[in-house]
Amino acid sequence: MGLLRSSLRLLAVLPLGLATATPVDFNRDVRPILSRHCTSCHGGVKQASGVSFLQREKALGSGKSGKPVVVAGRPEASELLRRVLLPDTDEDRMPPTDHGDGQRLASAEVEILRSWISAGAIWGEHWAFIKPQPQAVPTVQRQDWARGPLDRFILRRLEEETLSPSLEAPVAQWLRRASFDLIGLPPTPEEIERLTQGMETPEEAVERLLASPRFGERWAAPWLDLARYADTQGYEKDNTREVWPWRDWLVRSLNADLPFDQLTIRMLAGDLLPDATLEDRIATGFHRNTQTNTEGGTDDEEYRLAAVIDRVNTTWTVWQGTTFGCVQCHAHPYDPFPQEDYYRFLSLWNSTEDADLADEHPVLRVPKDPDRFQDIERLDHEILGLRTELNDSGRSLVRQTLWQPLDGISVTGSDETRFVVATNRVRVEGTVPNGATFVIRLPDATEFTALRLDILPRQSDPKRLPENGAVVGHLWMEDEDPIRVAAAKVEAERINADNEALAAEDAKAAEEAKKAGKEAPRKQDPKPLPTGLDRIEFVAVYADTLSGPFDPEESLKPGRAGGGSFPKLFGPRWLVFVPKQPIRVTSGHTLRLRLKHEIFDAETKGSILHHFTLSTTSDPRWTGLVGSERRQELQDRLAKARREREAIPATGALVMRERPDDDRRETRLFVRGNFMAKDVVVSPGTPRVFPPLPPGRPDRLSAGRWLVDPGNPLMARVFVNRVWADVFGAGIVETLEDFGSTGQPPSHPELLDFLALRFQGDLGWSLKGLLREYVLSSTYRQDHRVTPGLLARDPRNRLLARGPRTRLTAEMIRDQALAVSGLLSAKMGGAPVMPQQPEGVWQVVYNGSQWVTPDTEDRHRRGLYTFWRRTSPYPSFLTFDASSREMCTPRRIPTSTPLQALVTLNDPAYMECAKALASRMETLEGGRTRRLGWAWQRVTGTPIDADILGRLESLHRNALARYEEDPGLLKETGGGADWAASVVVASTLLNLDETLTK
């Protein structure tokens, strides 16, 4: 009974009413039955007894029993029909009695299946996976209501339901709604006045709002939820990060109405655009909002992959409204995506430089002064070009060089480390302490112009997890003459003693300064130890690739990172070290190569060379190369450009950066989604149910271009629907995040297709264009007042026979309180701010960061700019349904709880607003009546009437009397009695139902 009831109700509520005369349609009639009763066991994941109803070929095949499941045209031969008709006592009956509520299919459902099979079991692709189709604008009976095609689609449905649209809303009601929907702030009384007096038309008002810089701030807010934007790294430590330049880019781009296809491509792959600007690179911060795990002992590769997977899932949720994340572990249970599709798509995202590093590499240095953006663009371009040219000169010479294995070497290191040497190949075993130095004794009479170091993985199975990285911190040579060494030792001891004395002086001075309450004086520089050993520094390093966070040339300097691979070693790497002059070791001398590891931390442990070979060459071209004028010139220019870039004051911005073509990562399918269980290599691509990638290199850019291609059936629909939901209260597809077969079907499917095609066609992907049509439509302009009859017919306003009325978002509630009280700062952008928050909310275990509320305008910035700590989001926002931003949040479900009342009544941040509003009231001339009238209109956007005025007057009077009789209580308010009573009124106004809704 339960199922029968719900299925019939479903059909009655949904747009696609089933009339008996029409032939059975797979998508409309059959798929819902299969989804509801069958596919949880006979789907993509579970294919119980080998039966699946996701694709026609499978459904028309046979299960394990060998009996054909569905025989087109022959219901009597179809096992499906036989099974659902078996008596309840038969254990073969489908669905089984112990599944779900155990009920059998309703007879209406059985009849649908029978008719469908009789008619040939014709399959239909799920509606959302078929391109939007051009829709004729419907004809409607009532001719005086619709302003545009949108309204005609709505009206036709209302007429089908024998409902009439509501009357047009009073302009003040419309303007309040439109102001929040366009700029996230309430209209001022003056703005309302202009509209009601006819000094401004609604069309003009919309243009004014669309042109406001507040527009970008308002529309950035839902994007921050989608992007899981936060000012911290997430996971357990949740350290602070700098990705807010992306948020500012977003606000700028929305204000400039950057077309949505362009916005998409820039966010996903702006760095890969030809001639990418600095803005394009900042835009890619969208996908750097993934979390970074810096906890000790975590595997950087695991969390790098977690971020890549998050990017794939977020991309599908945001742009495709599809639960593609399911396919990470297995074929999609309900939609036609085999598991391989997931990894084909993932491979497009798998070759970025970021690798879950604590320093968040890659970080773009963005000038604080936007006027310097072009300087940085020029310099970055120049630096990259010069560095690449320098390295390429060596890379091409490497291929032309005949390399000789460096035979006869011996290696020593720490006592716990063993070196197994075979000709020029070294394997390192045992424990290698962090920072270890390997001393490699070169054979006598070695001569060379360049030394080649090949870093090799320990094992070669590509299905295994990559090894820890291997980085040559510092590599140099020493010619160890025994007499010089002895002399140097004596000298070293003496200097060490001197340095100890200096350190003791420093300690004493610091102690004295502390006693005197002064800052400790700067420590004295220790004297350098002798370089008495004849040290031969190399002058150049060439590498197979410049990918990774470190420049290989850093291997020439002590105390730094350098060439190699970090944080993981995916395959063999090579480095070539070139001395200034050819090295010729005369017999009897001892030449040693010292290789010091410098990179290690709790998370990555040591980045140690465990397997390498050494080779040399005497090719004179190497000496020529490093001594060439061209090289000198390039180096000088590089140094100059770097100096210039460092001199520009800048802030960090997390960005996506692609690894160079010579170092892209291989992508393998993960068995059951487990990153430790790699399977076959997959080639980049898109799910087969969708069009293929555009021609050219398959990468993030091609993925972005594929998304915005008109051939993609989903993106435009998903986006117009999301904006619709934001403005009209619920989506045409209510499940904004799931357009798949388990999501809700659209309430107005033709309207959705119409809007999608209009958005990507005539509107040129313009958000402002789309919003203009929404908020100026007759549908939107309806009065939101509702009669009990209409409420009973359509309680959730899916049919839109009245105007939308929804609660304000967390940010809007805050911004409104600041705006009406005159506190709101107009300052845009910049680092996140810390408004008032209760003590002890920020329980920061792992770092010393503090929540400090400043006494500047940063105390009163728009909610958008509030510091967002993932493990401890701003509490009053959470109470009003904001997201913790750990995952992409495609919709906030609005709630109503007593705790919300406590926020707007008692949160000191709201009290501050009430006080400021009261102070504004008190400055007005004209007495109590005028003050209360002004405040009412300022807060609610509607004129006050006698009833309300009387009620507010009595509140003020009673509060005033209360304060006058209790001076102690008045003292606590910090003001006079009139003012304090006005604060009570102001606080009440900020809590009105009218105030909290639009």
Partner: protein
Amino acid sequence: MNLPREAWNAHHQHVTRRHFLRDCTSGLGALWLSLQGQAGTPSVGRDAARPFASMAPHFAPRAKRVIFLHMAGAPSHLELYDHKPELSRFDGKTCPQSYLDGKRFAFIQGIPKLLGPQFPFAQHGQTGAWLSDRLPHFRQVVDNVCFIKSLHTDQFNHAPAQLAMHTGFATPGYPSMGSWVTYGLGSSNAELPGFIVLLSGGKTPDSGKSAWGPGFLPSVYQGVQCRSKGDPVLYLGNPSGVSRDLRRLSLDALDDLNRRTYQQVGDPETLTRISQYETAFQMQVSASEAFDIGREPEVVKAAYGVKSGEESFGNNCLLARRLAERGVRYIQLFHWGWDSHGANEREALHSGFKRQCLDVDQAMTALLLDLKQRGMLEDTLVVWAGEFGRTPMKENRGGEVMEWAGRDHNPGAFTVWLAGGGVKPGFYGQSDDLGYEAVVDRVSVHDLKATMLHLLGFDHRRLTYPFQGLDQRVTNVTKPSEVVTGILA
């Protein structure tokens, strides 16, 4: 174009205050909840203005309220309740390949070694319950407790397993058990949230707020996270300069003005808001009083090991009793810190794990004794559980021998206990000789919820809410689940 306001007002003249009062408690309110979903009808008809009104379940309940003690991080059953002498024999032996084939581990790689139980076990009480020496206080109450030693789940990471335990689904967005129960039963105290969450152990559980989220149920049924330091509920206290009578004055005005809005607009959400402001006002007093454990006698505080001003499991257990007394329907405690991998000192069985045991042993014992002494254990169901068990193998993270002894995640078998509320003390189910897989009378996390609902008077198949085309339920429609009748008294 612009309809004069007067005309509109005239149109709505018939909606009087009397109408409001009638509608508020009948027609409109009932509609609100029945039509939040998309299809079908919810199994519980509710009045929007009184979403926590006490309602009768399907049949006579054995339990009226639940205190769920969730040990976040998943404690080792092999070091607490599940006595495995066989495992001692194999301590240090290489794990047989048959135990590893087809298994997924969070951290174990290659071939690990088996790890014997790290603490001695002994039998206690009339029932002869096995306990390790880590729970000396708990010995006193074992005769009130039913141990299920054959729990299993299908999730092997914390957040999804915690969600599976509380919502029936591994992904966020589904209502938690406390939300379902308060939706079905309401609360017998309108001045306190019906579903309260208390955290200790220094960290929010991995699944975060989703473990007490309302999912697709109306959001009023979400768990309210309360703090054991400062204001128990954020912003509970009035600002300085606003006394309680002034607050009343302003709420009276607010109430009048909002009722006027409702008369004019007719939006049922306005009714909800009106009732939420009233509840907030009452909550200011009742919550402050309920959360003030300082009012308890010293002897009670000492029994729980209360440390005033701290966020501790002991304090939360005492708070749980106070809230249960005041009619809170579902009290959910999370105590974090049981993830004994052995990756560091805090996660070592011989260090951090021991401290965790000290944190909970005395307090959970005191809670059972206290409830019993007050006659509340009869109709209060207390549940103690982690989100999964631990492996009989010693963890070898990254394929390497680790300095500390620890165990990896094991969804195959773990022990939970239940007490009071119609549960028969004793044992149910068994794991295999190594405590690796539940083998006798297996109980899934869904069976556990079905059983809890049964004790509360619900047929879990009939406590449903329509969402995404399905009549959803907390036992997850895609997973078969049954009431564990063997533990019912």
